[in-house]
């Protein structure tokens, strides 16, 4: 008598086709970890443009890549760089300094405040951080007002930040859209909660019974679409599976720096080698090589 549950698994191309020019997308991960790179590369292959991109609170070069590939019109991000590998994203600099992208100036918690307002269905979120800085001057969507109780201190009203789609890389997910991080969650849950629709890129799709073993570890419930992409975070780390590919990242930094300095050929060649020439995710992995991929192994730390 019982009907069957709907499965939401899609291929990477079918999933990426859901993103249209002009949409607002949020991209999960943090620093050098847990970015949905297979999906990001497919967006670039599709020639997406005019995207508004909500980045993680400490975005890495996944956002710099989207900028450099011409996909981004407006960026909502408190940081784009890669720590010691690359303190400031080179494409961020190139596009911001030439006025080719608009930046919605914010800080980590002003970002979260906007996501919170959206997730909680509120008109705004009141937050003190940012008072006394240039952020309010640079971002006209933020409105300063006075604490209505104490009547003296200044507070910032942050409007809701909502994405059409939020894309999150997780360790594993089931076919119904339940995802579990196997390591740090960073800000992924908040990016997801502010989404109209949620896309999971999973290292692996697992049976629902695996998820139910410890439902406290479920970080994304009922995503709207799930894709399976083993090594889908490369060249970045995926917690619980592999570490970042340092040489690959250094090559990215070199090519993007060349682009900033006017050597567009080097950058175009980078995009060709690592995005356009390999026509799907597995072809991309071939360009990395099996031994290199396997050498990135990290042993499990968390047990459950």
């Amino acid at each position: 008598m019982s009907k069957k549950r709907k499965e939401v698994v899609a291929s990477i191309p079918d999933a990426a086709a859901k993103i249209k020019d002009g949409m607002t997308i949020a991209v999960g991960g943090f620093g050098a970890d847990n970015h949905p790179m297979a999906f990001v590369r497919e967006l670039i292959r599709n020639g997406r443009k005019d995207l508004t991109v909500i980045a993680s609170a400490t975005a890495g070069l996944e956002i710099d890549l989207l900028i450099g590939a011409g996909c981004v019109k407006k960026l909502i991000a408190p940081y784009v760089g890669q720590e010691m590998y690359c303190p400031i994203g080179h494409n961020l600099r190139k596009y911001a300094e030439s006025g080719q992208i608009e930046i919605w100036e914010c800080s980590e918690y002003i970002l979260y405040a906007g996501l919170f307002a959206a997730a909680a269905g509120q008109e705004f979120f009141a937050w003190r951080g940012g008072v006394g800085t240039s952020i309010v001057e640079l971002n006209k969507d933020l409105v300063e007002f006075t604490d209505p109780i104490g009547k003296t201190k200044k507070v910032i009203a942050v409007p809701p930040l909502r994405s059409d789609w939020t894309i999150i890389h997780v360790g594993w997910a089931d076919a119904y859209g339940n995802g579990q991080h196997l390591g740090a969650r960073f800000g992924d849950r908040w990016l997801a909660r502010a989404a109209d629709r949620i896309m999971i890129q999973a290292e692996r799709i697992v049976p629902n019974s695996v998820i139910r073993k410890n439902p406290f570890m479920t970080t994304i419930a009922y995503a709207d679409c799930v894709i399976e992409a083993p090594y889908g975070g490369h060249p970045y780390a995926a917690h619980g599976f592999y570490k970042e590919d340092v040489e690959f990242i250094q090559d990215y930094v070199r090519c993007s720096e060349a682009n900033r300095k006017g050597d567009e050929a080097t950058w175009r060649d980078y995009l060709k080698r690592h995005v356009h020439a390999p026509n799907d995710h597995y072809a991309y992995l071939e360009t990395v090589g099996i031994k290199k991929l396997l050498d990135l192994y990290t042993h499990p730390i968390v047990s459950w």
Binding site: S2, R193, A194
Partner: protein
């Protein structure tokens, strides 16, 4: 005499209301609403998203055996039905509807969004309800002087801001409970929701053991819409503390069908929690 209990009837009536695309959070009267929602998942709404209880267990029981209908909304055994568990305050982080105001339009494409948010339907109790659908869990009396202290508002006012439809549920039907004007408002009725530009529509129904009121779409006042089997309009009028207006056609709620009762008793309430 009917071969079903009043609680069984309630569970089946509410299960019928549930759509496959609904996102539902259970509120008061655990045993009835847990039964209604689990029954809907096991019969016609396998993709309905369901938050059970203050432990914020997001549950799907389509392929899980429900050994015994839970009696409290907070028990450890709820985790057996869960695919995801959250902190209780997190439930309010799921409030914002996908698309914001756009979600609330009839036939919005966003109804089909898969991910959980809070919520299309919520079931609320009350010690009083008035003709506007305002309900009261706070108490009777005046500010500073309660003649009767209620249990408290719980979170119904928080929920009213965003939930599409609430269902007010009273366990008895008399003039003390159904009043012209509640002493205190813990759950605002449809008019207050509209005046304050809430996305949430306020109560869709007031359900009592005798009948179901819905609301006039223009005046936003309660009107008798359905009678439970064996109840008359005169009976409702005699026991209601406000003037009972009626919908164009007052229907009688269809009694449980054999297969509805069978499904309830074999799939969800094997031990007969609702029967006694």
């Amino acid at each position: 005499m009917a071969d079903y209990s009043w609680k069984e009837l309630m569970a089946i009536v509410f299960a019928r209301e549930i759509k496959d695309s609904d996102k539902i959070t259970s509120g008061a009267h655990t045993e009835i609403f847990f039964a209604a929602t689990m029954l809907a998942q096991k019969t016609h709404a396998p993709n309905m998203k369901l938050q059970l209880g203050g432990g914020v267990t997001l549950c799907n029981v389509v392929d899980v055996d429900v050994e015994e209908l839970p009696k409290t909304s907070t028990g450890y055994e709820l985790i057996r039905y869960a695919e995801s568990v959250h902190d209780h305050p997190d439930t309010y982080l799921f409030y914002g509807a996908p698309g914001g105001a756009r979600y609330y339009k009839e036939e919005s494409d966003l109804r089909e969004v898969n991910h959980f948010w809070f919520a299309d339907k919520f079931f609320v109790g009350g010690i009083q309800a008035d003709k506007w659908g305002n309900t009261n869990m706070i108490g009777l009396g005046k500010p500073g002087k309660f003649t009767f202290r209620g249990p408290g508002t719980i979170g119904i006012n928080d929920i009213a801001v965003g939930v599409r439809d609430t269902y007010v549920f009273l366990t008895a039907h008399d003039k003390r409970r159904l009043v012209e004007k509640v002493d205190f408002i813990s759950h605002p009725g449809k008019k207050i929701c509209r005046d304050n530009e809430f996305y949430g529509g306020g109560p869709k129904w007031i359900v009592t053991p005798k009948c179901i009121f819905d609301f006039d779409p223009d005046t936003l006042e309660a009107r008798l819409a359905m009678l439970f089997p064996g109840v008359t309009l005169a009976d409702v009028r005699a026991n209601t503390g406000f003037e009972v207006k009626t919908a164009k056609k007052v229907e009688t709620v269809a009694p449980p069908k054999r297969e509805e009762l069978d499904a309830l008793r074999t799939l969800v309430d094997k031990t007969g929690v609702l029967r006694h």
